[in-house]
């Protein structure tokens, strides 16, 4: 309790932004990848993949939010979120370019 109760203002703000904003960014990136990859890898129709990815995203975001507040090391939290965000959005945009015949 002490460790977190004594959180200073700046690390707290960083954690809040990382959890709420970063967690959302990563979830949205993963949604985009899943919505693109599922129809390509399985026989699932495109519209179905979009809905499935979006519904699961709420649970992914929930897990990320919980973890963001449970992770003691703030740097690790930020590094992982930035890495996951870059990877998922990079993959999504790459897939979009691939699909449009680039």
């Amino acid at each position: 309790m002490q460790r977190i109760a004594a959180m200073k203002a700046i690390p707290l703000i960083v954690r809040l932004v990382a959890a709420i904003g970063g967690g959302y960014g990563v979830s949205a990136g993963l949604v985009a990848v899943a919505a693109l990859a599922l129809p390509a890898m399985t026989a699932m129709p495109r519209s179905e993949a979009v809905v499935l990815a979006s519904m699961l995203a709420f649970l992914v975001y929930l897990a990320l939010l919980i973890w963001a507040f449970a992770e003691p090391r703030l740097t690790r939290l930020c590094v992982v979120l930035v890495a996951a965000g870059t990877a998922s959005w990079g993959a999504a945009l790459g897939l979009v370019r691939l699909a449009s015949g680039g």
């Binding site: 977190i4 949205a28 985009a32 993949a49 979009v50 809905v51 929930l62 919980i66 507040f69």
Partner: protein, 512 residues
């Protein structure tokens, strides 16, 4: 690590609860009332307290209103057809001056006078999912944030609860207030957990396309309409042609739609581009016999009345989404479930309110000793969000029965005056709670009791539908139900106020 994890979850539970509790209470309270939104409509708009609609009536009674909408170049003409809970036809279109909402008696085809209220379906229900903040969808996003927070609170609450199974049934009303409040918070939280988690998740899932737009943006090149056309089979004309066009027989198209779905009843009629050569008529299916909220619709070319396409059933994932939406919307015909939802919704309100109270009770002494202002600020927030919300709702009902039809003041029409009353009264409850925190809970409980009883009395005086009369007529049962709940609420608030005044007297004796 285990200790650290639990401690961080405790921190998360405490502070997300304190910061978002007010918002969550408002959403839960309005959602609980929305369970009976159409019944509230009947109570607040007495002109629609009609006997159940005749099974067959001609949709042609809508033609004059349709012509009015076409003349006003309204982008749409929307008709809600009567159901078991709703005896009147609801019509909505847009005039240059603003939206027009009217009821029609299906028995006679007569347009009923302007109800002058947004009532349950147009004030309480939208408040529940978007707080009436339309700008940039901020309201919708705030509710989404609160929904995520509710799930976080559910999970973290389970993690920090040390004796979840031993305390499963434990509520000790004879204990000290702090223990009693925690017991009540734990019991409603743990037992209500499946409902609260599912209702938050399903609420979020309804708006998945708004909350996670990245999914359809990357797959459909950012074209929302293309996605909806693919997923739901929507037929949406691209703009108006500018040429005037007629409208084929409503009844013929409705009969065709019914035939497509094996005689199923219809829920709505929606015309895009009324009066234009490129108008499209959409007719929706009513299926009250299943949990899912169906997207089944038939599309007709307006001027010719020819069927463009129709939809019957959905793919597996979409069916799951429709099931989750349906269990949240409860538009199905199941009165037992409707009442259970109401009770469990109230349990959610109790859960949030006791969460606040526990925070306050466990810090009151310490903050007083240290001279901190936290308790005072949060207490004002808690009073205003809990009893203040109840008072504002009560005032909304009371002013609805006090204002005559067609009333207006300061350039605001009757419906706007009701809404202004709601917000101003709500604001006043916060002001009172911050100004006089000692007596705020008790005083506001008395106000709730007074407003709820006044609402019942005013309903009797202005409409003559007192409890005995409304109980003896089937079509007035919704009125009876609302009056009984108001009286029960008044009694409950009065008992709470009496208890609080006794507690404060004991407190004063002890201090003396």
């Amino acid at each position: 690590m285990e200790q650290g994890f639990r401690a961080s979850m405790n921190w998360l539970h405490t502070w997300s609860g304190v910061v978002l509790g007010g918002l969550l209470f408002a959403i839960f309270w309005m959602g609980t009332l929305s369970v009976f939104d159409r019944e509230i409509d009947r109570w607040m708009a007495p002109m629609i307290r009609l006997p159940a609609a005749e099974k067959t009536f001609s949709l042609e009674v809508l033609r004059p209103l349709y012509e009015a909408a076409a003349a006003a170049k309204s982008p749409f003409f929307s008709v809600g057809l009567p159901t078991d809970r709703d005896a009147a036809i609801r019509v909505l279109w847009r005039e240059p001056s603003g939206p027009v909402h009217r009821f029609i008696d299906p028995g006679t085809g007569v347009m009923l006078p302007d109800p002058g209220t947004l009532a349950g379906t147009r004030f309480i229900f939208p408040f529940h999912y978007m707080l009436h903040i339309r700008f940039q969808d901020i309201g919708l996003w705030l509710v989404g944030l609160a929904g995520m927070a509710m799930m976080v609170l559910c999970v973290s609450g389970v993690i920090i609860h040390r004796k979840i199974f031993t305390d499963f049934f434990t509520f000790r009303p004879e204990k000290k207030p702090r223990r009693l409040i925690l017991d009540l918070h734990n019991v409603t939280g743990v037992l209500g957990l499946p409902f609260h988690f599912l209702i938050s998740l399903s609420g979020l899932v309804i708006f998945w396309a708004t909350y996670f737009p990245s999914s359809w943006q990357v797959t459909y090149n950012g074209d929302r309409l293309a996605f909806f056309a693919d997923a739901y089979g929507n037929v949406i004309p691209k703009g108006r042609s500018g040429e005037p066009g007629g409208m084929a027989s409503f009844d013929a198209m409705a009969a065709e739609a019914r035939r497509l779905w094996d005689g199923s009843a219809l829920r709505y009629v929606f015309v895009r581009n009324p009066g234009d050569a490129k108008s499209v008529m959409q007719i929706g299916r009513l299926d009250e016999g299943i949990v899912s909220s169906t997207y089944d619709a038939a599309y007709f070319d307006g001027p010719t009345g020819a069927l463009i396409s129709y939809r019957n059933g959905t793919a597996p994932v979409m069916s799951t989404q429709r099931f989750l939406s349906g269990l949240h919307f409860i538009q199905f015909h199941h009165w037992s479930l409707r009442w259970i939802y109401f009770v469990l919704g109230l349990a959610g309100c109790v859960l949030i309110a006791t969460g606040y109270l526990f925070w306050l009770e466990s810090r009151r002494k310490k903050h007083a000793q240290l001279g901190l202002k936290g308790v005072r600020i949060v207490e004002g927030l808690a009073v205003g969000s809990v009893t203040g919300m109840l008072i504002a709702t009560g005032a909304f009902f009371v002013v609805n029965r006090l204002l005559p039809l067609g009333a207006s003041a300061w350039g605001q029409d009757r419906a706007a005056l009701e809404v202004w009353t709601f917000y101003l009264v709500w604001l006043a409850t916060f002001a009172q709670a911050w100004a006089r925190p000692q007596r705020a809970w008790m005083g506001q409980c008395w106000t709730v009791a007074a407003l709820a009883s006044a609402a019942v009395l005013l309903n009797w005086i202005t409409t003559g539908d007192q409890l005995l009369r409304s109980l003896s007529h089937r079509h007035l049962w919704p009125i009876a139900g609302m009056d009984i709940l108001l009286l029960a609420g008044a009694a409950f608030a009065a008992v709470a106020a009496l208890r609080l005044s006794r507690l404060s007297r004991i407190g004063r004796v002890r201090h003396a």
